[in-house]
Structure formats: structure tokens, C-alpha cells
């Protein structure tokens, strides 16, 4: 893994702040009905992504996740303007306006979605790794899921196959405490999700997901194991989401005090405090980063606003690789 330096923390601060402000902007424009459908925001979980990206080899490693997926492709290298445009349903979006919030993809940057069915992406992640092993490439696939997805059968079938075939994959649970409104404690007889790996003899452990350097270190170990032929790992990364499951969530299942308490461990504040403690930046320099982030988010919004909606034929053109597929007519 690359060394974690002053520059790493400064970059983390800028990236994590950008992701937070990007999501805040989406929440704002959602209220204005510029963005519709379901909207699941990443606020509070930023250290999980920041740490993972540091440990990954972004020239060859892959990532797949569920529907809380706006900022991961940005971290992987995708243009955030195109992600914002996708949420606006515009033709310039990452999926040309066909995917929306839950289905962001970036083939160029090896981000494989963006999946709306809880747990449905878990075997896909193993399949990406299967193809890498088959073709004797040394890429590793990070397969993310939420805590709710660990109760799906897809996890268990995939864990068994991934260990049986020794696939180069890291399974990562972002345990943010709640599957929509159902706390982890209410979904199984014990709440130590990482222990699910034990039955498959898969290396597994819990990870503090509020500190990027901790995530990076654990992720690096798992990635190196996969890359060197040691097979899959399972990390339960413990984090917290500040906002509701989606925008329509009234959050009656938890107290405001609980959220406030968790926000005291905010991963972005944590990175910033570390920078100040080490005297790696002045308040002016941090102010400059914050200004830059604000401007970048504004650029994304403007790009999405100004972009055209897709042409109607695109919903047909994207279904099949076959160019002359004879679709049935649906209107007079």
C-alpha cells in the first residue's frame, strides 16, 4: 500500500468533503424535484470509501456496490458532473439517463454499479473476480453491500463459491446500523456480522469504518491476500449514516440524540482534526479546499441543469447489443 502521508490526509479531506457536499446538493435539488425516484445518500460513511481507495490499485482493481452508490464511481475516477447529470435524468449522465440514482456505472473506471436489489450484486462481484482469475489477471474486486444484504441467501451461496474457487474478491459490509428501519440487532440472533465468514473459513474481522487510515490498513491486507492467490476476505466495516435510508424515511426507528452522538465521531471532522493537530495546513489552506469543493459541486449542478434530456430512442438502443432488434410497438 502507498504510504499514508500529509498529502493523503489533505486529499482525504478534500475528497470526503466533496462527496458530502455532493450528496447534500442532491438532497437539496431532490426537494426541488430536480432529482426524483429513490435517493440514498452516503453522508457519514465517507471514510469507508476513502480508506478503500487508498488501498486499491486504481489502474486495475474493481468495485461493485448496492444502491448507495453516487460517490464511489467519483472516487474511482468518473467525472462527478456525469454522475449528477445521471441523477437529473439527462442524456449526459453516466447511463445516459436510463439508470438514475441506484444504477451508476463506469466501465472506464472499473465501477460495476450501482445495484438496486439488496444482495443481488454479491454474486456479480464474485463473477468479476472469477473472470480475472480465469484470464489470469491480478486485479481484485471489492464487493460492497449493506448490513441488510448479509441476511440474503445470495451472500451465503456466493461466500461458499468464492472460497471453494479461491476468488480474488474482498467482501465488504458497510454496516451503518440499519437496514432501512430495521436495526442489525433485529435481523439475526447475534449482531457480529463479520462472524458469518467463519463458517466458510474466510478470513474475516470487524473494522472501524469512521477512520480512513484504519479502513485502508485492513483493506490493504485483504486486497494483498486476494492478489497473491489467498482468496476472499470478509470485512464488516462499522459506520453510520446520518441521513435516512432514503429521502422518504422519517427515521422513527432511532433518536435524534443517537444521530447527534454519532456525528461527534464524524469521519471528515476526524481527518480535519488530524490535519490541524499535525499542523499540516492552516485554516486559510483548509478554507481554500472548502471553497474549491463548493465550486466543483456548483459546476456539477450547472452541468446537470444545462444538459439536454435523452432522445427517446435511447431506451430502445441500449437494451440489446443487436442493432436491429425488433421491439414490439406499445402505442398507436
Amino acid at each position: 500500500m502507498k504510504r499514508i502521508t500529509k498529502q493523503t490526509y489533505l486529499q482525504w479531506y478534500e475528497d470526503m468533503l466533496f462527496w458530502r457536499k455532493f450528496e447534500d446538493k442532491l438532497a437539496q435539488v431532490y426537494i426541488n424535484q430536480k432529482v426524483r425516484g429513490f435517493l440514498h445518500l452516503y453522508n457519514g460513511q465517507e471514510a469507508v470509501l476513502a480508506g478503500a481507495l487508498h488501498a486499491m490499485d486504481l489502474t486495475k482493481d474493481r468495485m461493485i456496490t448496492a444502491y448507495r452508490n453516487h460517490v464511489q464511481p467519483i472516487g474511482m475516477g468518473e467525472d462527478p458532473k456525469r454522475v449528477m447529470a445521471e441523477l437529473y435524468g439527462k442524456g449526459t449522465g453516466t447511463s445516459q439517463g436510463l439508470g438514475g440514482s441506484m444504477h451508476i456505472f463506469s466501465k472506464e473506471h472499473r465501477f460495476y454499479g450501482g445495484h438496486g436489489i439488496v444482495g443481488g450484486q454479491i454474486p456479480l462481484g464474485a463473477g468479476l473476480a472469477f473472470a480475472d482469475k480465469y484470464h489470469e489477471r491480478d486485479s481484485v474486486t471489492l464487493t460492497y453491500m449493506g448490513d441488510g444484504a448479509t441476511r440474503q441467501g445470495s451472500l451465503h451461496e456466493t461466500f461458499n463459491l468464492a472460497t471453494l474457487w479461491n476468488l480474488p474478491v474482498v467482501f465488504c459490509v458497510e454496516n451503518n446500523g440499519y437496514a432501512m428501519g430495521t436495526s442489525v440487532e433485529r435481523t439475526a440472533s447475534h449482531s457480529e456480522i463479520w462472524k458469518l465468514g467463519l463458517g466458510y473459513e474466510m478470513p474475516c474481522k470487524p473494522v472501524d469504518g469512521m477512520k480512513p487510515e484504519v479502513v485502508a490498513k485492513e483493506m490493504d491486507e485483504a486486497i494483498q491476500r486476494a492478489r497473491s492467490g489467498g482468496g476472499p476476505s470478509f470485512l464488516e466495516i462499522r459506520t453510520y449514516r446520518y441521513r435516512g435510508h432514503s429521502m422518504s424515511d422519517a427515521q422513527h426507528y432511532r433518536s435524534k440524540e443517537e444521530v447527534a452522538r454519532k456525528q461527534e465521531e464524524d469521519p471528515i471532522d476526524y481527518v480535519l482534526n488530524h490535519i490541524y493537530e499535525k499542523k499540516w495546513a492552516t485554516t486559510d489552506e483548509i478554507g481554500a479546499i472548502e471553497k474549491k469543493v463548493k465550486e466543483r459541486v456548483k459546476e456539477c449542478e450547472k452541468f446537470a441543469e444545462d444538459s439536454p434530456y435523452p432522445e427517446k430512442n435511447v431506451m430502445y438502443d441500449t437494451v440489446y447489443e443487436q442493432e436491429d432488434y425488433p421491439f414490439l410497438p406499445h402505442k398507436l
Binding site: 439517463g97 463506469s106 454474486p123 456479480l124 463473477g127 468479476l128 473472470a131 440489446y320 425488433p326
Partner: protein, 325 residues
């Protein structure tokens, strides 16, 4: 021409395609060391080794999904279901991932893969093992659905399905694997989406597909003795459907019977009847007749199963009905 079994046609198609493209692999329950539950992959493990002919545990959801994921990353998998009845525990991976991936990624990821295995009834296997899901899969945009009825079609269509850059559902039958038929020597392909007139006739059009079409052949042999000439169309591909061949035939015969081994509600025959009344309303001399299974789960008892399945006598009755005889 040479004469081979249906299972050999399937095996030849997969073997020939795997020889020409290293990215193809075969995965499923009992496909490798057992040589296939129905011996449709006999000898393939010996030729290609365990890297490309892969036994799985009983985990349809898991291996269907791994197949889709690998298709996003450079492979062209053939995923075998021991029967399509078992595909239901993995259907999320087919409907939500294989079928939708290309469109919801804005065209970034096509899924070049085949899901194959037997469909419909196969003797007295009762409710859970006698189901035909052609219309379910054909209802879903993003998929193609191929259902051959003889060895020659099976080989040519399977080769095309494996080469196709979109996900294909390829449906066989336990009761056809032993069927023998003439197959061209050397390599040949049959394009998807093209029906074939298997028997020419002037009086009634019968459209069918898969193994049940044999009941139409038997009926036509009987009816010709009474001077009634049936034209039999084998759809071969259910989605996309070759409407033109059906419509052209109905314009000639003015009468249509559709024979399909599936439950009657909203099935493939329903779609054909709709298309024909839309495109050839003025040519019809009688209402279209659909012949399907009973509107119940498949029963076990031989007497009940015989009643549940459509047969050649039902076809004869239907033909006479549309001819007002």
C-alpha cells in the same frame, strides 16, 4: 448429413464453440465429472479441463450471478440449469442483472451469455418439475428465448446463441435428449428470431415450438388422411418472435391453431393470437384456438397428466373447429 441424438447436438455445439473461443466456459450442477445430468456435456471435461467445464454445488442463485458478473468482465459463460424449474431460485440474477444490465448502464455492459437446460414436463414429475417458463422469460426485455424441437435446430441455434452478444435463454427437454435426427456435417449456424415452416399445407396454420410440436406432426399425419392439409410453423425462437412467417401463413390458410405446453393465462400463444388479430384480422375465417396445458399445477397420476397435457387428438379437434367441421 449424419444422424445424432439431441444431447449430442447440444454437446457438439458447445464443444465447437469452446474450441473457437477461449472465453467460453460451461458451468452448472453435474456438468463436468458426471458428464451432465442428461449427458449433454459428455467428454467436455476431458477435452477442456476443470477450468472451463465447471461443476458447482447446488447454488443456482450463486452461480447464475457469478456467470453474469464474469460476462461483465470478459467471459462468455454457458450456465446450465439441471432444469429451468430450478432457475427460479436464481431468477433475480437473470431478470434483474443479465437482462437489465445493458440498458441500466446506458449501454456500457452487454451480457454475452447463455442460460440453458430442459423446460416443461418430462413424465410424471408433478407440479414443481413440469413447468414451462418460456413466456415468463420472453416477457422480459433484454433476454432472447430459444426453444428448439430437433437435433439439427438445437445445434445450429445453440451455436448462434453462444455467439450472440446478448443473454439467451436456451430451453431443451429431458424427453428430447434421446431424440435422433439428421444434422448437417461440418459447421453451420441457424439465426435467432427466424421461424421455420416444418410442413407446408393450405388449410390450417399450426404454430408451436419445443417438444410439444411433435403432437402437431402426429395430428397433421392423421388429418391429411381426411384431406385436411396443415401448415406447421416451428417458432424456434420465442423472443424475438418471427411474426412475419406466422402472418404470411395465416393469410394463406385463414385459420390458426397455436399449440404450446404452458399454462393458458397470458402465454406465448396469447401473444401470437393478439398479433394475428392485429395484423391479419380480415384474413381470419375463424377465431384462433389456443391449446395449452390445464390451468392447474401439473398433476402426478398418469390419467391426470394425460388429461392435463395437450395432445394430437386435441390438435385434431382444434383444427376441425377452426374449419367448422
Amino acid at each position: 448429413m449424419k444422424t445424432i441424438q439431441f444431447r449430442e447436438a447440444i454437446c457438439e455445439a458447445m464443444t465447437e464453440e469452446m474450441r473457437r473461443d477461449e472465453s467460453i466456459y460451461l458451468m452448472g450442477e453435474e456438468v463436468a465429472e458426471y458428464n451432465g445430468a442428461y449427458k449433454a456435456s459428455k467428454g467436455m471435461l476431458d477435452e477442456f479441463g476443470p477450468k472451463r467445464v465447471i461443476d458447482t454445488p447446488i447454488s443456482e442463485l450463486g452461480f447464475a450471478g457469478i456467470g453474469v458478473g464474469s460476462a461483465m468482465n470478459g467471459n462468455r459463460p454457458i450456465i446450465e440449469f439441471m432444469t429451468f424449474n430450478f432457475s427460479l431460485v436464481g431468477i433475480d440474477q437473470i431478470i434483474n442483472n443479465a437482462a437489465k444490465m445493458r440498458q441500466m448502464s446506458g449501454g456500457q455492459f452487454n451480457i454475452p451469455m447463455v442460460f440453458r437446460g430442459p423446460t416443461a414436463s418430462a413424465g410424471q414429475l408433478a407440479a414443481t418439475h413440469s413447468q414451462a417458463f418460456e413466456s415468463w422469460y420472453a416477457n422480459c426485455p433484454g433476454l432472447k428465448v430459444v426453444v428448439p424441437s430437433n437435433p439439427a435446430d438445437a445445434k445450429g441455434l445453440l451455436k448462434s446463441s453462444i455467439r450472440d452478444d446478448d443473454p439467451v435463454i436456451f430451453m431443451e427437454s429431458e424427453q428430447m435428449y434421446g431424440d435422433k435426427g439428421e444434422v448437417p456435417e461440418g459447421e453451420y449456424l441457424i439465426p435467432l428470431g427466424v421461424a421455420e415452416i416444418k410442413r407446408e399445407g393450405t388449410d390450417v396454420t399450426i404454430v408451436s415450438f419445443g417438444k410439444i410440436i411433435k403432437e402437431a406432426y402426429k395430428a397433421a399425419d392423421e388429418l391429411t388422411k381426411e384431406g385436411i392439409e396443415c401448415e406447421i410453423i416451428d417458432l424456434r425462437t420465442v423472443r424475438p418472435m418471427d411474426h412475419k412467417t406466422i402472418i404470411d401463413s395465416v393469410k394463406k390458410t385463414n385459420r390458426l391453431v397455436v399449440l404450446e405446453e404452458a399454462w393458458p393465462f397470458g402465454n406465448v400463444a396469447t401473444e401470437i393470437a393478439y398479433q394475428v388479430q392485429t395484423q391479419a384480422f380480415d384474413y381470419l375465417d375463424a377465431p384462433v384456438v389456443k391449446l395449452n396445458t390445464g390451468d392447474t399445477p401439473a398433476p402426478y397420476s398418469p390419467v391426470l397428466l394425460a388429461e392435463w397435457l395437450p395432445n394430437s387428438n386435441d390438435v385434431i379437434k382444434a383444427v376441425k373447429k377452426v374449419m367448422y367441421k
